[in-house]
Each structure stands twice: as structure tokens, then as C-alpha cells.
Symmetry: C2
Amino acid sequence: VIIDIQNDFLPGGSLAIPRGNEVLSPLNGYLDLFQRDHLPIFATRDWHPANHCSFREQGGPWPVHCVQNSPGAEFAPALALPPDTEVISADTVPEQATYSKLDRTDFNARLQKREIRRLFIGGLATDYCVRSTVRDARKLGYEVCVLLDAVRPVDVQPGDGQRAIDEMIGLGCRTCTLADLKPQVPPTGTLLTDLYQLTMLQAYHERKMNDTAVFEFFVRDLPGKRDFLLAAGLEPVLDYLETLRFTPQELDWLKKSGHFKAGFVQQLETFRFTGTVHALPEGTPFFANEPVLRVTAPLSEAQLVETRIINLLQYSILVASKAARAVLAAPGKILIDFGLRRAHGAEAGLWAARSAYLAGFAGTATLQAGALWGIPLFGTMAHSFIQAHEDEAEAFESFARSHPENVVLLLDTYDVEAAAEKVVQLARRLEKENIRIRGVRLDSGDLAGQAKHVRMKLDEGGFPGIRIFVSGDLDETSLKSFALGRAPIDGYGIGTRLTTCADAPFLNCVYKLQEYAGQPCRKRSQGKSTLPGRKQVFRLYDARGTMERDILALDSERMEGEPLLKTFMEGGRRVAAPISLESIREHAAEQLRRLPPPMQTLQEAPPYRVEISPALHRLVDEADRRAC
Amino acid sequence: VIIDIQNDFLPGGSLAIPRGNEVLSPLNGYLDLFQRDHLPIFATRDWHPANHCSFREQGGPWPVHCVQNSPGAEFAPALALPPDTEVISADTVPEQATYSKLDRTDFNARLQKREIRRLFIGGLATDYCVRSTVRDARKLGYEVCVLLDAVRPVDVQPGDGQRAIDEMIGLGCRTCTLADLKPQVPPTGTLLTDLYQLTMLQAYHERKMNDTAVFEFFVRDLPGKRDFLLAAGLEPVLDYLETLRFTPQELDWLKKSGHFKAGFVQQLETFRFTGTVHALPEGTPFFANEPVLRVTAPLSEAQLVETRIINLLQYSILVASKAARAVLAAPGKILIDFGLRRAHGAEAGLWAARSAYLAGFAGTATLQAGALWGIPLFGTMAHSFIQAHEDEAEAFESFARSHPENVVLLLDTYDVEAAAEKVVQLARRLEKENIRIRGVRLDSGDLAGQAKHVRMKLDEGGFPGIRIFVSGDLDETSLKSFALGRAPIDGYGIGTRLTTCADAPFLNCVYKLQEYAGQPCRKRSQGKSTLPGRKQVFRLYDARGTMERDILALDSERMEGEPLLKTFMEGGRRVAAPISLESIREHAAEQLRRLPPPMQTLQEAPPYRVEISPALHRLVDEADRRAC
């Protein structure tokens, strides 16, 4: 809610509030954040009749200001209000004066209609309209957060502004500044790119080459045993593109680096991504040569982002695809990502947790992934916990008493069978105190064999409800063999082999120019040739909804089947709110159920059919004739 | 330089400066940063005789203050001055008054002696001693940065403080706040850990188990074709440990997560790493079971950091070890890291650039790695650059004119031999304008065969100085075969296979409890047993300095040979300044020269001998007898 950012209240206006213009920059920052999350924005305005009773000539305290339809009543042009801002006109009755925007307006009704419960309020002036509106909002039961860096007082009496803020806090308001609301996603620095991207940009800049370019990200062939891949990593890419800008420090460094000319670096200050993004929704299976993501943007923008787009998409796809195989190999089991420690750096660990969850894992051990995305967290204890105690039984009991709601005990520090015996004894004792042992974990040796022994011991001891989890060097292949051997295992902690994608740690994936300035482009390098033009994937299903075949066609063609690439970004902005990880997970589950049956059971499957449309074939020939 | 943080100038003192105590917190922050970088710290003090002429009773403007050896002259106890702070006593002569700490003191001489050129100055008061000292420092030619958040004025006349700051800026001073100086390393969040670490910490907290624990990081066996590994990742680990703390947001999230008790989370607020770290210097070869890093710390501190320590060390070691093999496989060639795009996330790309450089690569394509660590940057152009131009020759010329100092042209977009011909023609034309083509790059197909053709074409054309670079799916194996085939290649861009460590994407590496509360610990899990106790590696060399064998012994033993683990951190602080990447790189180069000759040429080598000392053998037996 932006209160009264009107010309009359700003420097030069008839009722200029001291330093009122200082709120413009933070307010524009908030507008940017709220728009990015597709949250509704309300702008209020004083909208007085010419003879309003608050004016001095009518005996009121103020000079004439904000008269309906006068230039002084207009919103400040420097305020970047989006087109769909809802405008609230207030204090419109000649003989009644109010500072509250909730007083005799339809503002409350409009908030109710949208089921809004929480307001973020800034604007002018702290000690009049902001204060009164906040008071009424609190009376009506709204949660209110006052944007401290985006309010300024009139301060008729020095200290009025501060007193108003103290009063609002006393009414239960929270306060924040722009910095508090900045999203806490892993950083996506603009320098996470190759030198040559900027080298090329400088050449483009000098030659004024900046026509529209179309790049597509695709995988040339499926690695290892994969017979499908799962799209993932799109939301991180969209976050990256939306927030892409060079910081002053980065520009400073580029200037000093000796690699670039000053004029070129200078103009990077206003560099933004303004393009369009089409993509497969995360969680959609895809195959070789099918575009996963298409960027349509001025050449320099589309080029600079190549490195980071590949970096983000490749790894998320690798993990999601491998995790999906694990999910298919162990139907009904609880799968947990244990892989942060052996992931390649922190970011890999985080993206792995996200990708595994979207592919159907139940959760992760990585705290930061829980904090960032709300992924359910799982965890037990390490061997060191057992070792740090005088003996194993004491360690089990110590743990159970500290975490009575989630007791899972690690059995393989010294001797598994002896440990299982101790668990039964402890379970009997704790039963009387209503503490239940929920599970045990095995982390070494012959996991299936040990699980059988432990299961028997627990059952014989009267605890068939204690679940068995195993971990240690697992992947979809071992899960499948446990399933075939009917090992009595309830859940799996899957780490290293998943987060390093050990059997296929990279994809032959590229981000290639397919069209420039309206002309299709084709690379003909040995073994690395590409299909030109803007492409779409059309998917055909059989009567039961099972995937049958795809047609790779030009985007301009209308083919039978479901077009898979959707529009996610236009003009550098998401076209809709970010998709929640839960929705993506549901989509992925539904998509996996539609895979051809052999793929669902990790059987050797005949390659999935991907046909190339006749028009696309013709374009290849045409591009070859054109190229020199 | 900390000016006059003495009791008399703080609230309650005889000449208390308004809000003077507000400088304490930022100054302690600066002290922390400067100590971390082992930069010298100077604290000045007013050190007046009892009859100083500036006192009112002597006709001066001020009350009696800071009389030598009086409590009021002491440094504020809340200021965290390190023991080696240099103290400057000023204004000590009864009949002369000065505000400048450079006036009639040995301060300038002491700065000169240490060859200090730049001063960061904060303290009290802005408009007197800070201003006068800064004036003199500028006159003496020092660069000065005024710590804006760590100065406060007397403001005898309102605005004096602001005017003093304006004056200092006018004298050419820079200004900064604590936030500006915070190191720009990739973030090392405290939540980059597993849930179970905190679960265990809560149990330890409740049982008050926090005796000294000793954990060691080691690799159980060498993966793939490796016959040695190269230590790397230590400096990032030390950075992580030194800065480890829970932010208010993290504590807030932990409280709300539902996994922990409030009292436990509360006390995490003061959690710091206070332990000792011994480690192999980065760039040192090592073998299976040898400790690479040893942490000695209270149990909770040593436990929490497990996940991130493994995460940081494993990947840096993987890349450094593989990069070292590439360096050994291609002596005299220029090797460049091209791998960010296919690395597993951004952090992997950055650590890979660092590890490859320390192992002997010439540089990287990753801009951010250049910005963070000053690693030399290399780069040419992408195929898209060629494709975006009307024709290839035009693209070459456009690039050459934009970057006349570093012209490297990509030949394989359409037809390599035709492209080489165009390069010769362009080189002839540009020669007249003194623009030199430095190199060409091949990125697909039969690289060795094409290189021979291109070399011939360039030589025949009269350009034997144009160098040939190749890239595309390379690793040490392909480099070795190019060397054997005498391919005329001058440099290599190595990407995917290096940054994903494709042939061995993880290490069987662990961070294990070896001793707790003075008792050696041993895990006996099947295939995962450990050697107990604090260990040291002693390395023996032959007469020519070549590595001969290692002895793995207890740290308390004195064996022949060079002890490899050094002390890097004590009490949670580095014992010396961070080692520069250049020094690490030199150390690594020297170490690689001392490898047994078969390892130097990537021949099949007999396994390197690592003996276990008799005392360590005895401790294994003892720990086995003790364990229950």
C-alpha cells in the first residue's frame, strides 16, 4: 500500500513534505519485489474537491493541495507504478476531513475481496495519512508492516514522525526495510559467466549488433542408462534472469580488469534481461534434441546468460532425472537426499535437494534446503555420536531422551546384531514412558542381509513397527536389487551417487543460437551440428494417457499433440507467479505415471520416438544452403 | 588506526563525547577483519600530564581528561584490542597542545618502518583528533579511508562533525563502513549442514557433553586411475571456520522449524568455532588413509562443521588432483579451465577454477574467479558469434578490430580448412595495421588431425607465430595422446571432464572422530573401520629429493622424515595470514616435481608406500579392546 505519492507532497508541491522524495527509490524497490511475486499493489491518493474543509481558506490547517484532476494530485512520475495498480481515492467530501484511507472508501472491501490479510504500508506522511491508515488497518484486524525506509514525516512538532512510528509499533505493527525483504536465494552473480561472453558483447556493442536472437538449450544425447530426462532448474533460471544486473563493484572490477573498454563497461550499468523465455515445465520428461528452454532476446542479453543457464539447468536435470529413476525403482519407499557433503560445493548440494524433492523424494538432510524451500527435513545421528558416548546403549538412550518425538538409532558402529538387541531392550524400557523408537539405520556392509536379521530381531522383540532405514553408496540400481530381493527396508538415505550423478556426471547439453535477426542459424561442426529455428515439442499420448511419441517441429507449425513448451517470461518478467515446489512435485509424479511402462520399471526400453517435422527438415536444408 | 577510545571520552567520562560508545561495535568489527588479514593495528591515546595546557584550569578549552596512568586514560575495556596492538601516546607535553597523533610522536616513523601506505582511521572525535590526524596523514602522503560508522563528533557547533567529514573528503580521503569491507567470498552459511548435526548438538547440549574431540578428514582409497591426490580446499575451510556464526534469521528459522528446543537454539547465538586446525598445506600430494585435516575442538564445534568441511575439501581435492594430472600430461602447454557451464552449480565452477590454477593451470574463463582471486582470464568467442554475422570472414574481422590486443579466432563453425584460409588472408591485411592474430581455436572433430592441417596452412601462409588452441571433451588422457602424437597444439581449454571430475566424481572420504575426552575412538563398521588417535604423516625423500615413502604415525611420536601436517588455526583464528594462491601454486609445482617419476608421467606406478607406525598399530588394538 503506497500512500499519497503525489506531486503536491513532493519538493516543489504546494504541501511539500521535507525529504519526501527520499521515499521514491525504496518504494520502487518494493514495487519491483512485490511485482516479481505477483502481489497486488494499492496506491492511495488524496483526492480533494476544490473547496475541501482542510484547506486554509476553508478554515482548515493546510494549503490547497491534491485537488481532483489537478497536476498536483497526480502520482509522482518517478514512482514506477505497474499498470495494474489499484488506485484508492480518499478524502473526497468537501465538508469532511480524514487522514485514513480506510475511512469512507471502498479500500477495505477491495482488500476483503482479494482475501488479503497482511499489508505493507509506506508513503507520505508518517505522522498523518500513514499513521491514521495504519491505525484503522489494525482496528480492522490486518497484520501491518511499516516500510521504515519509505515513510517521511511532516514533523510540525519535531519528533512527530518518530512518535508516530512508536505508536504504530505499539499497535502491533512490524517494521522492515527493503533489505529485509530481499529474497534469500543463493546468489546469482552476473560475473558467473565466461570471459568470452563479455568479449563478444563488446564486439556486438561496437558494431551495434543487437537484433533479436533465439537460443535454445537442449541435450544432444541421453547419457549412460537414461532413457528419459526430467526437466528441472527452470525457476532458478527465471530468478537469475529477473535479477540480473551488474553491481557497482562488478562494474568497477570490469573496468580495472584490463579486458574491456571503459565505454562498453559504462553502458553495462543499465544492462537488464528484457527477453522472452519458453520452457518445458519442471518435472516434464524429455528426450535428445528437444528444446528444454528457449530464450528470445536482444543478442547481447541472450548471449551473456549462456554460461549460467547451462550451469543451472544441466545439474538440476541430472539430479532430477537420476532421482526419478530411484523413485521408480523403489515404489512406496521413503527416499531422502543425504548428499550435501559429497556434492560439488554448496550450491550443488542445495539444487540437488530441490531436484530430488521435485522428482518425488520425501525430503532431505540439508538444513539450508529446508530453510530456503520448506523441503521436509530428515536426520538421525552419526557414528561419532555413538563413539563419543561411553557405550552404545547409553548413546541410544541419550539420543532418545533428547528427541523423544523422532528416535531413529544408528546400528552399525560396532556390531549390528548386538546393537539391534540393545534397541529392543531400550524400546521396552522407553515404552513405559511413552517414548516410541521409530526406526533404525544401517550404513555399511551387506545392507539387505543385515536388514533381514534386524527385522527378525525387532519383530521377535515385539516391535514390528520400528522401521528400517539404510544408507551408504546407494543409487537406483541398488534400490532395484533390494526391491527384487524383497529386503525388509522402509526407507533409503541416498547421497553421493545422486548428488554427484556418479554414473553420468554431465550432459552433452548446449545453448545454441538458432535464429538471429529473423534468419535461422545452423552450426555444422563435426558431431555438433544443430537444428535451426524456433522449435516446439508436440507430445502424443495413447488412449490411456501414456506417452507415445513426440514431434519436434517449428514453433510456427500447428501439429497434433500437446505443445510442451510454455511461455514463462516476457519482457524480462515472469508472466505468472513462481510455481511452488509442491505443484512441480505433483506435476512430476503425474508425468512419471505417463511414461511408457518399460521406463517406469527401469527395464531396457526401446528408444522413445521423436520425429522431426517436414517443415523443420526443410529449414535444415535451407540453412545449409544459406551458410557460407 | 583507532583514535582515543579512552574512558574519559565515553559516556561517564570527564569529556564524554555524545554517543561516543556507538563506535565500539563497528570498531570491534573492523578489528576482527583486520586481524583476520593479519594487518597491523595502531591505537592512539591522549596521554596528558596533569598540568596540560588544554585543561580549563590552565586556561585551555577542556575539562581535565586522559591524565597519564589515570583510569580515565585507559582504553575502553569493551574495545577488543589484540595483544599486539601498537599504542601511540600523544599530546604529552604540558605546554603544547595538539590534536594530531602524527604531531611530535613516533607514529610516522613506525608507519614508515612497516612500509605502510594506507590508513583506515576511526575513533573519537570526528571534529578534533580524527580530523587533525587525517589532515597530517594526507600531508605526509598516506592514502586515508575514514571509517564513517566508527567516528562521532563533539559538535560544539552543530554540524562540526559533518563539516569535518566534508573537509576530509575534500582532502582526498575515501570513506567506508564495515559492510563495505566484508570479504566477498562465496557465502558459507551455517545451515549448510545436515539436520542430524544439530540434532546431535542438542543431545550433547542437554547432556553437557562438550569435551575435546579430535576429528580427521581422510580418503579411504584412491579413485579411478589416481595414484596420488593433491591437497586443496584448506583456505576456504579456514574462511568458513573463522566466520562461522548463526545469523538472527537462521536462529529464527531454527526456532520455528519444529526440530529443536528453544533453549538449545537460544545458546547457538554465541556459537563460534574456537578450535585448532592442523592440515596438509594445499598443493601437497597425499595418499589413502593419511589425514588431510585434523580438527581439535569442543565436541559440538567439531561435529557441526563436518558436512561443510567434507563438501569443501572433497571437491577441491578432486579437481586439483585431476588438474595436476593434466599438467603432468602436457608439459609446457597452456591449460585453461573452461568448465563453469557444466560444473555442478556456481560454487563448483569457482572452486574448480581455483583448484585448477593452484595445480598449475595458466588460468580460467570464469570471470568471477578472476574477480575473487585474481586468476588470469582467458577467452575467445563462441560459435554463436560467427553465426550472428553474415559470414565467417566478417565475424573474424569484427572480433579482431574489437579486441586487437587478443585476437583468437574460432575455426570450426562451418569448415575448418576454409576458415584457416580466411585467417591467413585476414592476418595479412591486419598486419599492415599492426594488428596481430595471436591464435586460433578448434572445438570439435578430430582435433589432432585438424591441428596438423591448420598448422600447415598457417605456416605456409607465413604465420608460424599464430598459436593453436583446442577444446572439447578433453582430459589428461586425451592430452597425453596428443603429446604422444606430437600434435602441433599450443594450449588446451579443459572444461566438463575436469569440473565434473567425470572419471571419478567423488572420493571415498570421511571426517571421523578419532579421539574424545582423551580416549582414542575407532569405528569398526564393515569396510569402514578407522585408525584411532591424532595422527601425523612423516614423509621420506631420497637423495635427489624425490618422495620415497610415508609413515603414518601418532602425532605424539617423533619419527624420521618431514612431518606434513602443520598448524593453521588455533583458538578459532588463523595462526598466520592466509597463504596467497600464487604461493600455493608454487608449492604445488615444487611438490609435483618431487613425485616418484612414474607418477610424473602418468605411467602405471607401483602403489606408494605408506607404513603404519608400531605405536599406531598398538593403539588400534587398544581401542578395539576398549570398545563395547
